[in-house]
Amino acid sequence: MQTTEETLRGLFARMVGDEKHMWAAASTLNAIWVLYDRVLNISPDNIDDPDRDRFFLSKGHGPMAYYAMLAAKGFIAPETLDTWTQLGSPLGLHPDRVLVPGVEISSGSLGHGIPLGVGTALALRAERRRARVVVLIGDGELDEGSNNEAIAIAGRLGLDRLTTIVIDNRSASLGWPDGIAKRFEVEGWRADTVDGRDHDELYRALTQAPDGRPQAVVAEIRKIGEGSAA
C-alpha cells in the first residue's frame, strides 16, 4: 500500500528539535518515499531475509524522513517518533542499526555508506543473490575521499546491483564543476540526473534494467522551504 502525503506529514511533524537539519530531512523525503513505496523489496516481514533489498542512509543527518517512512511501513511504532532524541529512545539525530528495526547501517559521519554498500553488494554477489543495495548520500558528502575510493572500486568491479542516490541540494562547498553525474561516469557508472521531487522521474531512474554497471541517480533538489518537503 502506498504511503499518502498526509500520513508522512503527520509522522514527520511528530519529530521536532533538529531545525538545523530540517532541510536535509526534507530533501531526502521524496527519494525515500519512492524507494519504500515502489522500488525496494523491504518490509518488516523480511527484515532478516538475506534476499531483501538494502537501503543505506549514508548521510545520517536529518533522518526524520527516514524514521517517518519506517513508521509508515510498520518497522517502528508511530509513538516511537514522539521520543525522538530523548534518553532511552532508539531514535537519535543519526540512525543506529542496533537500536532501530529496519535500519541497515548506523550512520552520521559522512563517507561511510558507499564503502559499506560496495561490501554488501560484493557479499550478495558472492552468494549469487539478486538483491539490490541502494545508498543515499548528499552532494556535500560526495567530497569525502572514502566515497570516491568506493566509487572507483564499484565501477571496476561492475557492481550493477548497487545504486547510489545523490541528493543534490548544492551543499558541496567547492561544488562539482563538471556535474555530479560525470564524477560517476568516469569511474564506469551509469548516471541519471532527475528532479528530486518528481516521483515518476525517480521511479523510472531507479527501475532501469541492470547493465553491468553500478548506477548513480542524481536527484536535484532546488529551493526547498519549510513545509514544502513533499
Binding site: 538475506p50 542499526r97 542496533v98 541497515e104 547501517i105 548506523s106 559521519s109 563517507g111 561511510h112 558507499i114 564503502p115 559499506l116 554498500g117 560496495v118 561490501g119 554488501t120 553488494a121 560484493l122 557479499a123 550478495l124 554477489r125 558472492a126 552468494e127 575521499g145 572514502s146 575510493e149 568506493a150 572507483a152 572500486i153 568491479l157
Partner: protein, 303 residues
Amino acid sequence: MSTQVDRKLMRSVFVDTVIESLATDEKLVLLTADISSWSFDEARATYPDRVINVGIREQAMIGMAGGFALNGFRPVVHTYTPFLVERPFEQIKLDLGHQDVGAVLVSIGGSYDDLARGRTHQAPGDVALFDTLPGWTVHVPGHEDEAEKLMRDALSGDGRIYLRLSDKANREAAPVLNGFTVLRRGTAGVVVAVGPVLDDVLAATSTADVTVLYAATIRPFDHAGLRAAVADARANVVVVEPYLRGTSAHEVAEALADVPHRLRSHGVRRDEEVRAYGKAADHDRLHGLDAEGLARSISQFIR
C-alpha cells in the same frame, strides 16, 4: 652438530593460512590494498568474489569489510600497519565497531620492521589506538607458530581481532593461552613480555630474581594473571611491549588498583620521533628494547 630449522616469516604463515582456509570456508573473504596482493594472485583467480584487491584505497577497504560482515561473511583485511590502522581509523571505529560486526585485521611492519622507509612506515601507536575502542582482541605473536594458531582461531570466530605480525620473532614458540604464561618465577618483581620482545627480556633477566610473564594476546589484558604473579613477588612491575611505551600502563593500574605497586614501562619512545634509519636491532637500542638496555633498566628498577 646443530640442526638447521627452516623458519617462515609470520607474513608467510598468514598468506598460507588464509589461502588454505579460503578453500574450506565459503564465508571467508580477503581484502588487500596492494600490499601482499601478489601473494594471493592464484587465490584471487580461484575465488574472485572473495579475494579482492582494492588498490591503494584503505578507507574503502575497511568499509567494504564492514559490508561483508553485515552479511555474514568473515572478512580478513590486510596491509601495512600505518595504512591498516592509522589512516582508516574512523572506518575501524564506525564501519566495524559501531556497526557491531567482526573482522580480522592483519598488519605487517610492526613498529619498525622496515626502517629504511622511515617514519611513514612506522606505527608504534597502533595498539594504543585500539585501546580507545571497545570489543577488540589484540594479538601480538612472538613466533610464527603462535601466529598460525592465533590466525586460525581468529578466522573461525566472529569477533573483532587485530593481529599484529612482525619480522622479528623469538627463537621458540611459547604456549598460546588466553592469559599470561609464567615462564620464570622470582621474588623481586614481575616482568611482562609481549610478543617478539621475549627473547630480549629472557636474556635481560637471566640472572635476575624476577617472575617473567609472557603474552601473545595483550587485549584483553590478563588482570588476574598479573595479580597472581604480584601476590608471589614484590610489586615491582615491568612491562616490555614492542609498540608505544606505556600502552598497557592503564591496564596494570586497573589490575593492581588496590595493590601498592611500582611500574616501569618499556616500548617505543613516545617523547620524540626517532629520525634514523638502520636496522631493527639499532632501533631496539635507541628505544631501550635491546637485552643490554633492558637488563640495565630492570636491575636498577628492582634493586
